[in-house]
């Protein structure tokens, strides 16, 4: 039973059509962090554990290569990281004394690029993704069809990421595949 298969809900499925490319990222370590992000304790923890600042505007994300920090709520952040999520979570609990949970497998991440991306997204999301309204570096939790998603804008070209719960991944993927023919 050594080196077991590391599965993702879509087994790295891809879409490659005219104007749209979609790929499921491989397994990504994620940690949900809670606390008062204006406090120095939290700031220190972020700096020592992840080398990041805690100043982050609502609906925005920052990345330092190794880790990406997303705003989820006033006292809630989500981190994608290369380090071990369990370790980060437990150290966070020790240093900050608030909540931290490994949620690596809770959801998967789709990476969408190509000129059709925005039309595909708004087919299912009531959220305005026009470049003037949703800029690179911004993220938003919203709805895609019946699925709650975390949407983030990573490049002008554009490149979007859509995080979706494991059990909704197939639905979201099929949704994207279908509307890709319509837009």
């Amino acid at each position: 039973m050594d080196n077991p298969v590391i599965a993702t809900p879509l087994n790295a499925a891809k879409i490659d059509t005219d104007g749209l490319t979609v790929a499921e990222l491989g397994h990504t370590s994620k940690v949900n962090l809670r606390g008062d992000f204006s406090s120095s304790t939290v700031n220190n923890a972020l700096t020592t554990l992840l080398g990041m600042e805690s100043t982050l505007a609502p609906n925005a994300f920052v990345s330092n290569g190794a880790s990406t920090l997303f705003w989820l709520g006033p006292n809630e952040r989500l981190i994608y990281t290369d380090s071990d999520p369990e370790t980060i979570a437990s150290q966070w609990r020790d240093q900050v004394g608030t909540g931290a949970v490994d949620v690596s497998d809770y959801s998967t991440v789709l990476r969408l690029s190509g000129p059709k991306v925005r039309d595909v997204i708004v087919s299912g999301a009531p959220f305005d993704v026009h470049p003037d309204e949703f800029k690179v570096g911004q993220c938003a939790q919203t709805r895609f069809g019946n699925a709650s998603i975390l949407l983030s804008n990573h490049a002008e070209t554009p490149v979007f990421q859509m995080q979706v719960r494991w059990s909704f991944a197939e639905y979201a993927f099929e949704y994207i595949k279908r509307v890709a023919n319509y837009v």
């Binding site: 039973m1 909540g99 497998d105 809770y106 087919s123 719960r165 059990s167 023919n181 319509y182």
Partner: protein, 1005 residues
């Protein structure tokens, strides 16, 4: 001769593209750019349909979506579409259409007998009869139903696909006529994000039907070019704004491929449904001409004046060689001139006596005869106008007098004035005001809804000349752009050079008299053509007291047809106003309800149909279950293995085998769908103390405890096992269906009631893949795969251990829903598939059996474990479930506590959970069967309880059941009767709820 009414030149049709089509089985030809209606008229076909009630012969009266008459059954088979307006169907090669609501055919329709007995069928006649004998109503009704209903539904599933999408913009412009184009152009110039939509296939609105067609179209094209080049502008033709909802949320239907004909759209959807959120809206929806209401004004060939003009100027079709123009305003004079120019013999009849000299001379120059102060008193010809009689109107317009002139004609172009299309403004929540000068309602901007800012411009605002429309469009576009912080410029809008006839005042004449009083004589004055509602019906309604607008509508059905009264509502109001001697606004106006034009159901659903209707949620082990032949059960949105039939097994056999195997050796169940919530923070225990009925203070780290949740009514609403992972860290499980509800329940209390508490809840349902292994061999099986010491002593019941299972990190909970030795192995979801394969492999020597939810239900019932939602129903307390043991006697407060001691909740003899053993052990009681207080020969019989769970238990070697029974806890040992729906009765012994291993040794083994 083909297309006898087609003019030799003119119009914006493409005469190089000859199209052939079929109507009622006959072959015809038309041109690219025709509508079905214009093509039929070109072929001299005036008769296009039959009316709803009297089956009167009808032709098109309009050239647009307001058409009430010319409804056809478009195409056949799976692609067929009932009640489709011939005036809105773009012609394509091979089009097939049939007329509706007639039998055997359009020319000869048996249903027309209704018009012979019409006088016995006034408005609301059905309320007054068909009552005797009572038993006959259903028979009468069968015929009524057959007679009603216009077109027929397809009988096959819709082969087409639809696309729904959201859209956002700064300014939405509804209507692409002169006003809308001007508004969009002015607003776009300052960089605002614009959507301009129009229901036509070409932009231009009314301009497309005007005489100087060439000049008008070139003006439009000029404007459109500029808009097309602007990246911030989205132009949507063939798109109708269907609804205007709060906060400037506008829905619109785009007909993407309908104009290509069935199955010619390729990958593109048939229709697209837009859900548009606009910061500002410019409504430039135009106006709709009203017919004059005169005797037999429904004969094929009687048309709205602007429709006649449109057919001539836009489609190059002359609807009739002899045309009578009948009007009470100036707008129809241009139509008279156009018809004459097209070679028709034209007579103009004007109800007014003061026609301007300018107009008179124009008519003279074109040899058009004019009757002033006259009216059409009758129409000859049933399947098409053959002639009309005109007589002089009395001063007051109440009667006709003098000699009747007979004028031979095949087309009557009538105009009773124009009704601004206020639908969108009204739907937005705005109120209308009556404008005498145009005899119509217009938007009252002072009574608009603050949350839906919009501007009306052009004809829908009561301004009917093109120049006025453009001016208002510019102004509205500028205001809208300014309101979103963008500058706009009027200069960007080209000047409109085409000259127009000056419009004088309208002289309303709401009902054209005949020699008979209204409702007498043979002739009928129709205002609602499709529903066959006449002026006489309005008189009757008034007579019987149905005077409020809504009563009038509902009693006579005026305005309720598929055109929703676009051409009839104002006429109906006015006639009622005259009858009552009040003003039109005093009668009121009916509310405009969405959609503006009928909206395809499939389009509203968009892509969220079939596989995308509701997601199927699957666990990481799903594929493995499929490979093992699982039959799945829908639990919420989840697909859960129900049972795993082997060759030749039915459900019963499979479930019996799985159930036995678990107690004999070991079985495994996918328990991943149970809700899981990670709870942390120094006040975590306080939260558990409040949401569960029992105590949590003393739970040791690494230990598990079962808990019940109550709502504030004191009723059970969820349950599950919660484990203490650390001093301030818990792992809660919930029912599968309750996961979201419980998460929301915890957050609600934490955020709204106890915000000062430091507790953090995170859903981790899908973080973990869970396999439960149950049975005497569960320990040995687990030992093969783990480094955890699973010995009885070091890993007791109701504790949790962390370690590695099958080489991956795992949390193993020793808890049991079967009463067997049991472990629930949680691994990160990415290893779920790996775990189940490892278990299957290692399980071989223990004859490990995968089992599904049904066997799980039997196993737990054998132990009397309840399932929330099956044995409970939202009206039961812990005491009702005989679970007082789990309710703390020491806690001051927990949610639902006070409700436990209300008069009704603490009374005795409430229904309580008990076990039932049928006298005949082979009888499995149907779930839902009722226990009766006494057996009578037939219902009604008083009931005292019902069966909640019932199974054949291989381990008990007989059938078992759980039930709720009034005062059940005190009735153990009694025998009760259950009355079946087939009349049979079963006796059963009331027992406790544990049927297997009453001492509970196995679970601790």
């Amino acid at each position: 001769m083909s297309q006898p009414q087609r003019l030799s030149a003119g119009g914006s049709i493409d005469r190089s593209k000859l199209l052939s089509f079929m109507f009622d089985g006959r072959q015809y030809t038309g041109y690219q750019g025709d509508t079905l209606a214009s093509a039929l008229l070109a072929n001299g076909v005036r008769l296009m349909g039959r009316s709803f009630k009297y089956h009167r012969p009808r032709g098109a009266i309009a050239a647009g979506s307001e058409e009430p008459n010319a409804l056809v059954q478009l195409e056949t088979g799976a692609y067929t579409e009932p009640n489709t307006r011939a005036t809105c169907i773009e012609l394509y090669d091979g089009l097939v259409a049939k007329s509706q609501n007639r039998w055997p055919n359009l020319e000869f329709d048996v249903g027309a007998v209704n018009s012979l007995v019409a006088r016995f069928l006034p408005a609301g006649f059905y309320y007054k009869t068909f009552m005797w004998p009572a038993s006959m109503w259903m028979t009468y009704e069968k015929f009524i139903r057959k007679a009603a209903g216009l077109g027929v539904s397809p009988v096959d599933d819709d082969p087409d696909v639809y696309h729904g999408t959201y859209a956002h913009c700064d300014v939405l412009v509804i209507g692409g006529g002169p006003a809308g184009i001007a508004a969009a152009t002015a607003a776009a110039n300052g960089g605002a994000r614009i959507i301009l939509l129009d229901e036509g296939n070409d932009f231009g609105g009314g301009l497309l039907g005007t005489s100087d067609n060439a000049a008008s179209t070139s003006y439009i094209d000029g404007a459109l070019q500029v808009l097309e080049q602007n990246d911030n502008v989205r132009l949507l033709s063939r798109t109708t704004a269907t609804g205007y909802y709060d906060y400037n949320y506008i829905t619109a239907l785009e007909k993407v491929t309908d104009h290509l004909g069935p199955a010619n759209g390729g990958d593109a959807p048939r229709q697209r449904f837009w859900k548009i959120r606009a910061k500002q809206v410019v409504i430039a929806a135009g106006s709709i001409e009203r017919p004059l209401i005169f005797a037999d004004n429904d004969r094929p060939g009687v048309m709205l004046a602007n429709a006649v003009g449109t057919y001539i100027n836009r489609y190059g079709v002359l609807p009739g060689n002899d045309v009578v123009v009948f009007t009470n305003n100036d707008s129809a004079y241009q139509v008279a001139l156009d018809a004459a120019a097209a070679g028709a013999t034209v007579t103009t009849v004007d109800t007014r006596r003061n026609v301007s000299s300018e107009l008179k001379s124009k008519l003279e120059q074109n040899n058009i005869r004019l009757f002033e102060g006259h009216a059409i008193s009758s129409v000859q010809g049933s399947k098409g106008v053959e002639s009309v009689r005109i007589m002089q109107l009395s001063e007051d317009g109440e009667s006709v007098q003098g000699q009747a002139w007979e004028i031979v004609c095949t087309c009557v172009a009538t105009s009773g004035g124009w009704t601004p299309s206020c639908h969108m403004f009204s739907q937005s929540g705005g109120k209308l005001k009556y404008d005498e000068s145009i005899a119509g309602f217009i938007p009252d901007p002072s009574k608009a809804k603050v949350s839906s800012p919009n501007f009306s411009a052009g004809a829908c605002n009561g301004s009917f000349t093109t120049h006025a429309c453009i001016e208002q469009g510019i102004a509205a576009g500028a205001k809208a752009a300014a309101a979103v912080g963008k500058t706009a410029s009027a200069s960007s809008v080209n000047a409109f050079a085409v000259s127009e006839i000056a419009q004088g005042a309208i002289a309303p004449l709401w009902l054209v008299p005949t020699v008979h009083p209204v409702g007498e004589g043979k002739a009928k004055h129709f205002h609602d053509f499709q529903n066959d509602v006449t002026a006489a019906d309005i008189h009757l309604a008034a007579r019987e007291g149905f005077v409020s607008v809504e009563h009038l509508k509902r009693y006579t059905t005026t305005g309720m047809a598929t055109d929703q009264g676009k051409t009839s509502n104002l006429n109906a109001l006015a006639i009622m106003a005259n009858i009552q001697g009040v003003s039109i606004p005093e009668v009121g106006t009916t509310t405009f309800r969405p959609p503006y034009t009928p909206l395809t159901f499939g389009a509203v659903g968009g892509q969220e149909s079939r596989e995308l209707f509701i997601q199927e949620r699957k666990t990481p082990m799903h594929e493995h279950h499929v490979a093992n032949g699982a039959v799945f059960e829908d639990v919420g949105d989840w697909k859960r293995p129900w049972y795993f039939p082997q060759a030749g097994e039915d459900m019963h056999a499979a479930v019996q085998r799985e159930t036995l195997a678990v107690r004999e050796s070991v079985g495994m169940l996918d328990a991943s769908t149970l809700g899981k919530i990670d709870i942390q923070g120094k006040d975590a225990v306080k939260l558990l103390e409040m949401v569960y009925t029992n105590n949590w203070q003393k739970l040791a780290i690494g230990s598990c405890r079962y808990g019940l949740m109550l709502n504030e009514h004191g009723m059970i609403f969820d349950d599950g096992v919660t484990t203490r992972l650390g001093e301030n860290h818990f792992h809660m499980t919930t029912t599968t269906g309750g996961a979201a509800r419980v998460m929301s329940w915890l957050e609600e209390w934490l955020q709204t009631e106890w915000p000062e508490w430091e507790v953090y809840c995170t859903s981790v349902t899908e973080q973990w893949a869970v396999m439960a292994i149950n049975g005497p061999n569960a320990r040995d099986l687990l030992q093969e795969l783990t480094d955890i010491d699973v010995s009885k002593e070091s890993f007791p019941f109701m504790t949790m251990r962390e370690g590695s299972v099958a080489g991956v990190p795992a949390r193993v909970y020793r808890i049991s829903f079967t009463g067997e030795l049991s472990y629930e192995i949680n691994v990160p979801a990415r290893y779920g598939r790996h775990l189940i394969e490892a278990l299957t492999e290692a399980g071989k020597k223990y004859d490990l059996v995968p089992y599904g939810t049904e066997a799980m239900h039997v196993l737990r019932a054998e132990k009397g474990f309840i399932i929330v939602g099956q044995d409970t129903d939202g009206t039961v307390t812990p005491h009702d479930m005989d679970m007082d043991w789990i309710v703390s006697k020491t806690k001051e407060e927990y949610l639902g506590n006070r409700a436990q001691v209300r008069v009704d909740t603490k009374r005795d003899k409430r229904p309580q959970l008990i076990g039932l053993l049928t006298e005949d052990p082979t009888v499995v009681l149907p779930e839902g069967a009722h226990i009766v207080a006494e057996v009578l020969d037939k219902p009604p019989m008083p009931t005292i309880g019902h069966v909640t769970s019932s199974y054949m238990s291989p381990n008990a070697g007989r059938s078992i059941a759980l039930a709720v029974l009034q005062d059940g806890i005190n009735r153990k040992g009694e025998t009760v009767s259950l009355a079946m729906m087939d009349g049979s009765v079963h006796q059963a012994l009331v027992t406790d709820t544990v049927f297997v291993d009453k001492e509970g040794v196995r679970v601790r083994g």
